[in-house]
Amino acid sequence: MYTASEIEACLPIRSDMDLVWVRQHVRQAAALLGFGLVDQTKLVTAASELARNTLVHGGGGQLDVTPVTAGFGHGLRLTFSDTGPGIADLERALSDGFTSGDGLGMGLGGARRLVHEFEVESAEGSGTTVRVTSWVSRPPRAREER
């Protein structure tokens, strides 16, 4: 079994090098929690997308990693927060192909499809917080549409 201290972390996202560390930590934490290889890869990829958003669009921020439990299931929650300009049109930002930078525009929407739960809090000018959760085994309650 794992100990919470091996999973819980608050990682800075300030440079490309930090993204590498974010991916490694999320992969390790997911493996410790017993995520399968496919789910590990999905979660790491989602973390990579969101961390890059935090860095590129939010101007840097941090990632909080916390293990969560609900009934029989346990999972991993990743909270990305920045104090950047925020997202003006959330609906549009989540749609595939929309980008404010020069990327593919798949990041935010793609990340939403890679995790079980996905929340964005953002207001123009006051930063963005993206909270995603994935479960090792399905959560006991019915899953929302993904």
Binding site: D16, L19, V20, R23, R27, L37, V38, Q40, T41, K42, V44, T45, S48, E49, R52, D96, G103, L104, M106, G107, G109, G110, A111, R113, L114
Partner: protein
């Protein structure tokens, strides 16, 4: 007051400390040699530790002489910077965190302070306090210098390794006449994908390659940025007349890419490098005959 002035010829606390350091050079070095920091770094002989200690005391005296106890850039530190860096580096290698190293450096202060206090015992409390304050500032600056040196050495090492990694990780391999392959390993960030693209395009020209295989078996995560880099590389190679095949897409990565919504539909992909090579050979019209039983190579 004046009768005490006679003891310290120049009077100011900093110079007082300087004279004290010069007088007690030997004793301080001897005491430091017994501290964990020096004991752990200079394991061969105690004399070596004492010599190193003396060098540090001399540097401190020089800094005090220049009246720059608060300045970590003071010229006096230049001489011992390398030695301090070596000492902190050797402690870091032993598994100590920078905080622990810094604490060990802090533990150099009490023995000196004790010496100073016992020597200036009969001075008025105010003067004594001024001297100990000057000394503690000086020791604090020494700590800053040591940590600075350790950090900058670490940073230099990281920079060097990063450059090395850029160089090492992108070989272009000629698999056959007209077929080159790039095994991609590790993180494909913008800097590395730039290097990959350049070396690959050069190889396409040099080797008159008609096919280029990008093998991503060693890439742990394929997110939208990595996919974008791959597609740009493919597009550039195509402009040069080479067809790209991406191979080594593992099952977990394939599922993730589908969920992420990445469309590599315009790019030729194969599950393994062998499959990709088979495809290219077939396209080039090269037949590879199997062993005696005549079984054909897989396409």
């Amino acid at each position: 007051m004046p009768e005490h002035e006679a003891g310290g010829p120049l009077g100011t606390p900093t110079l007082e400390v300087r004279d004290f350091l010069r007088r007690r050079r030997e004793q301080i070095a001897q005491r430091w040699a017994d501290e964990p920091l020096f004991r752990a770094v200079f394991t061969l002989s105690r004399d070596e530790a004492v010599e190193a200690g003396k060098a540090v005391v001399d540097a401190l005296a020089q800094v005090a002489d220049a009246q720059r106890v608060e300045d970590s850039d003071a010229a006096g530190f230049t001489g011992v910077r390398e030695q301090l860096g070596r000492m902190s580096a050797s402690r870091s290698r032993a598994g100590l965190s920078i905080t622990q190293v810094s604490n060990e450096l802090a533990s150099l202060w009490p023995p000196v302070d004790k010496l100073l206090t016992s020597e200036l015992e009969e001075r008025p409390a105010e003067e004594l306090r001024a001297c100990t304050t000057a000394l503690s500032t000086l020791m604090g600056t020494l700590r800053v210098v040591a940590v600075q040196t350790a950090l900058s050495e670490g940073q230099a090492l990281i920079d060097r390794q990063r450059l090395q990694l850029l160089e090492v990780a992108t070989p272009v391999i000629r698999l056959w006449d007209g077929i080159v392959a790039v095994p991609l390993i590790g993180t494909l960030d913008s800097a590395r994908s730039q290097v990959v693209m350049e070396t690959l395009l050069n190889a396409v020209v040099d080797q008159h390659a008609r096919f280029a295989i990008l093998d991503i078996t060693g890439v742990p995560t394929v997110d939208s940025l990595v996919a974008q880099h791959l597609m740009k590389t493919v597009a550039a190679a195509r402009l040069m007349g080479a067809e790209c095949v991406i191979s080594g897409i593992r099952p977990a990565i394939a599922q993730t890419m589908v969920h992420l919504g990445l469309d590599l539909g315009s790019v030729l992909t194969r599950a393994s490098l062998a499959d990709a090579l088979g495809y290219c050979l077939n396209e080039l019209g090269v037949a590879v005959s199997g062993p005696a039983d005549g079984s054909a190579v897989r396409r």
